[in-house]
Symmetry: C2
């Protein structure tokens, strides 16, 4: 039985992708997961295209070599900068976080005006603007570089974080976007700030969480692949099995990662892709 469990490979440039892993295993507990956190190389979302793409392609091959039959790029920056390169380089289907986020925004928005918040690199790539434009939506992209370090500091319910978010969102919803009715969380760290962001976002705005949207997209695809598994009540209650790989300190991955995953992380294996 266990040999038939499919493996979903999850690539992340740091810790935030654990919010996507969490959404994934809650929706698809039948799968095994191999999670690769490239914590030594891409922690800040401020990388150039070349640096991000090269690291992501290496990680994709690593996850394939560990049995991944589907790859989820659980990082908006890596998706924005490198999804095309990973898709070409990989031998299995690849799902990024931008397209599912754009799909969800297209469903949520009535007036077709959307604000997207993310890292500098994600915003500079205009990946969301292109994806939303293709769906007939007008997008304002706003870089919010302080939100990641605030989440990593653990200040998810803190007056400073609320003030930073208020400043960023006032800029995002200014100049013709005061009536935008949807906001996409275009960074996998931001789901931890959802309650706070809901308080400082105009009341008429729906918040789209790209981590959740991506998990739903993968679940739909997965259901097409293994419908018997998902329709089997016994099997649905199975416990997902997870392997973790990190390129920097495994202790740090365990400590910081559990905040994102929502429960303790065990068995993190150190990986050095440079050798």
């Amino acid at each position: 039985m266990s040999t038939r469990r499919p493996t979903i490979g999850v690539f992340d440039s740091g810790f935030g992708g654990l919010t996507v892993l969490k959404a994934l295993y809650e929706l698809i507990p039948e799968a095994d997961y191999a999670h690769f956190g490239d914590t030594a190389r891409l922690p800040c979302g401020s990388k150039s295209v070349e640096t991000a793409a090269r690291a992501a392609v290496e990680a994709a091959h690593f996850l394939e070599s560990h049995g991944a039959q589907t790859l989820v790029i659980a990082c908006n920056t890596a998706t924005a900068l490198a999804l095309d390169r990973i898709t070409v380089a990989a031998h299995v289907p690849v799902v990024g976080v931008v397209e599912p986020g754009a799909d969800a925004a297209a469903i949520a928005s009535r007036n077709r005006k959307v604000v997207v918040i993310g890292t500098h690199a994600t915003v500079s790539s205009h990946a969301y603007r292109k994806a939303l434009d293709a769906r007939g939506l007008e997008a304002r992209e706003k870089a919010c570089p302080l939100l990641v370090p605030l989440v990593e500091e653990g200040w998810v319910e803190h007056p400073v974080t609320q003030e930073v978010a208020r400043i960023y969102l006032a800029e995002a919803f200014a100049d013709g976007f005061h009536d935008a009715d949807t906001m996409v969380l275009g960074c996998t760290h931001y789901p931890l700030l959802k309650p706070l962001l809901q308080r400082v976002t105009p009341v008429h705005v729906s918040i789209v969480d790209s981590a959740e949207s991506t998990a739903r997209a993968v679940a739909t695809r997965f259901q097409q692949l293994v419908p018997s598994s998902l329709s089997n009540g016994t099997e649905r209650r199975s416990v997902p099995r997870m392997k973790f790989f990190a390129t920097d300190s495994t202790e740090k991955f365990q400590q910081l990662g559990q905040r994102f995953l929502g429960h303790p992380i065990e068995n993190v294996q150190h990986v050095d892709l440079k050798e």
Copy 2:
């Protein structure tokens, strides 16, 4: 004449080391400078020892191959985690920022109680505590991880930064350290916050800038090596020549770097140490 100008190699894990370069060329304009910003690999001061040390040793060899006769490790995290390794691996004298900072604190402090602020990695290494202990000073080390991204966001005179600094320093000067009379800026980003930090630090506290202290230590050593150059008035007014190398985007290095250096940066060369 120009062939006799010595070259000082400056290694930085990101952008902050440019504050050390600035202090260096103001004190030693007779030298040429080769500055290596390892922006692709070590931007956040949150790396493990292995990752930091390996990158720093590679950079040291790169700078030597570009003619550096002295190496300045212009990053507290790299100094704290990798100075020993770099010193062993290098063929030229190596100066870090921790020892000069500790020396300056030992001179500034009357009651031998010092607060050191820095990144997580610098604080966890206890490099400052050890250096200050060796000089008979008691140290409280306090990680202030939000200050680097706040500086990089350009919020050097911003109410949010002031509030963050107030919170961090209240913790640093609590529990037996309320009477500490010296504070070491143990991160090369922090000199940009010096006016703000001065406002939120208790009035009796002297602030020691490890960038300045390091430049003075190098200048002293340099004067011993080439006394004729430094004592020659004409030569002192010479313009330092600088070459810049960055492992990530050169455009980003130019844009962000000029804030730290205080003037425009030209001729940045991209370097890929992985090849």
